[in-house]
Amino acid sequence: MTTVDLTQLEEGKSGRVVLISGGHGLIRRLESLGIRVGKNVTKVSSQLMRGPVTLRIDGFQVAVGFGMAKKILVETKR
């Protein structure tokens, strides 16, 4: 088990969210789109030049800005 942030997670790999290192506002915003501690997320893609990270959660996809993605830590199996 290793813990990385979403910008470090490899494309196509999944992980379980273990920590969102942000204030109450950020946590609530991420939560409202289904990103919260305990959820499994799959990284679909990342863009060049510190662009947004696209995630798949359950059946849908969300694009998260690079800075926000850095604050979302996931635990993955090696």
């Binding site: 915003r29 893609s45 947004p52 696209t54 359950d58 059946g59 969300v62 694009a63 998260v64 800005g65």
Partner: protein
């Protein structure tokens, strides 16, 4: 009158249900944030007349953008709430549902996109969900109308709900409900899902985006030019022109002739140059501009309904950050290419005042609307592709440079993109054509009267010698800085009313290519037309609009002056 509100997450089909219930057409698309303002309509429930309100989507009753603020405010006012739930994303949608139930108001749930759950292997036990929540749950497919009747029949007896849960443990409750009612079966990836992956991974997405842009613009040109060349110009030349020549003879020379028919060029009517109400006044909006507006909105509607726009937003996000915006700001820009009015409205999907100021200012300055573009293509295009390249190339450079500078010198930070990417959907032709006809009707209703007014005012100003007078006053700027003839000031005056008429007014001036390019660019940049101006004042407030206007006028002079020096 009782108020029934349609509330739900963004992009779940509230606007389609609204149109079904009320017969009032509103624009619906496949991206979150299409509806930024509420729309009211009425319907009859048994013997009672009720008001139905289409509310912008929200994920949460804790708003993060002006569009969401509207939703949350409205939620408090409703008598009955139709909670529109995306059946393919039950968990995330139930989060809002539980918050709505907390208020104790009567709620009826429309489990929309029901048909899609079958395709993607989700099955939901509707009866069980209904029992748990204690409110009616109706599966619907708004786009085909399935389930709408059942939904309506539940409305009259909707009662206050009595669902209770611990607010602190809302997500746990949601999870519990989902695990009880939903089953997911495995299935193979579809073609559209493969396309989704290809259009979001940079290695394939960037080439795909370039190809799409080329296809989009070629399609617009092909359809627009085709309609003009095959349908509209022949109709005006062969049918309308002989009629007008008859009228011209009948009227004889005089004031009425000048106003209605305008000047004859070599004894004939010239639909662009004559400047009469019945000649140029009808030809410009209908034959020169409408075909391009039609072509543009057809292609834009396809893009909107397919679900490509949010993906484009993700791709351009890094570039947009240099302009102090994030990727989603591409949506107001795209809408602005049709008309700056909906473009300005669409800035409401952005969260902060700073972003909205930057996006609205950039759009008003550097994004020409379809009406103006059509006229520029018609006039500058006569000198070949170089002129067009210069006009639109300059505007693109201005957009990037000005955005970069504004970002530098405007206080504050801009937040990051955070947006749901909807699945690709095959556009539904019935809905698409309805949307197209709404937009085209809107154009005709809005444009034709203003073009006629523009032509009328031009005639009056010319015949009273006012344009010539202002031209001499403004000569140092018009001639000195921009290198245009004094008469070009007429176009700048009328440009405030309608930019397409203004571009048309350049033709009789006998400008060379350099002057054409300068005039087209300056006309785009210097000020929005009156309709866009009114909306911008409302969206930005008077103070920010004044700031924005100062930026517009000064950057138009600087860029026009530079072009005049360089070319």
């Amino acid at each position: 009158m009782r108020k029934i509100l349609l509330i739900g997450n963004p992009n779940v089909g509230k606007s389609v249900i609204f149109s079904r219930l009320t017969g009032v057409n509103v624009i619906a698309s496949n991206y979150p944030g299409t509806t930024v303002e509420y729309t009211r309509g009425q319907m009859k429930l048994r013997d009672e007349e009720v008001e139905i309100i289409d509310v912008p989507g929200t994920y949460d009753l804790d708003p993060t953008s002006p569009a969401e603020e509207v939703a949350v405010q409205m939620a408090r006012e409703g008598d009955v709430i139709i909670d529109v739930v995306d059946a393919t994303n039950l968990e995330r949608n139930l989060n809002l549902t539980l918050q709505l139930l907390k208020d104790g108001k009567p709620v009826v749930i429309a489990l929309n996109l029901w048909d899609e759950t079958r395709h993607i292997g989700i099955s939901i036990d509707v009866d069980r969900l209904q029992n748990i929540l204690g409110v009616p749950v109706i599966p619907t497919c708004a786009i085909t109308g399935e389930g709408i009747k059942e939904l309506v029949s539940e409305l009259p007896q909707a009662k206050a709900n009595s669902f209770h849960y611990d607010q602190e443990k809302r997500w746990e409750k949601v999870g519990e409900i989902v695990s009880q009612v939903q089953k997911i079966t495995h299935r193979h990836h579809t073609f559209l899902e493969r396309l989704e992956d290809l259009s979001i991974k940079p290695a394939t997405a960037l080439p795909l985006a370039l190809v799409s842009l080329v296809v989009i613009f070629s399609a617009i040109r092909f359809i627009g030019e085709g309609l003009i060349g095959v349908v509209f110009e022949p109709a005006f030349e062969r049918l309308w022109a002989p009629l007008m020549m008859q009228l011209s003879k009948l009227l004889g020379a005089g004031f009425l002739h000048d106003v209605l028919i305008g000047r004859l060029v070599e004894g004939q009517i010239d639909f662009v140059e004559s400047l009469g109400l019945l000649t140029t006044g009808l030809f410009v909006p209908i034959a020169a501009v409408l075909p391009y507006v039609l072509a543009f909105y057809l292609v834009l509607s396809l893009l909107e309904d397919s679900g490509y726009l949010p993906r484009l937003a993700v791709l351009v996000d890094s570039v947009m950050h240099r302009l102090g915006l994030h990727g989603l700001a591409i949506i107001p820009m795209m809408l602005g290419l049709g008309c700056n009015v909906p473009g300005a409205m669409a800035t409401r999907v952005l969260q902060t005042r700073r972003e909205r100021f930057l996006a609205a200012t950039l759009m008003a300055i550097a994004v020409p609307c379809a009406a103006q573009t059509a006229m520029v293509v018609g006039l500058v295009g006569r000198h070949g592709a170089t002129g067009l390249g210069l006009v639109f190339g300059t505007l693109l450079v201005v957009w990037l440079t000005l955005g970069f500078l504004l970002n530098r010198f405007t206080k504050g930070e801009s937040p990051e993109i955070f947006v749901e990417i909807p699945p690709y959907r095959m556009p539904y032709w019935g809905a698409l054509l309805k949307k197209l006809s709404m937009r085209v009707k809107g154009f005709i209703r809005g444009a034709v009267p203003f073009v006629l007014l523009g032509v009328l005012i031009t005639n009056i100003l010319y015949s009273l010698g006012i344009i010539q007078f202002i031209g001499r006053l403004a000569a140092p700027i018009i001639t000195g800085v921009l290198g245009l003839p004094e008469d070009a000031v007429g176009a700048l005056i009328i440009g405030f009313l309608r930019k397409d008429v203004a571009v048309g007014m350049l033709l009789p001036l006998g400008l060379d290519l350099r002057q054409m390019v300068v005039a087209s660019v300056v006309l785009t940049m210097y000020f929005p037309c009156v309709a866009a101006f009114a909306v911008l004042v409302r969206e930005l407030g008077v103070k920010d609009m004044m700031k924005s206007a100062a930026i517009m006028i000064s950057s138009a002079l600087i860029v026009g002056g530079l072009l005049n020096l360089i070319l």
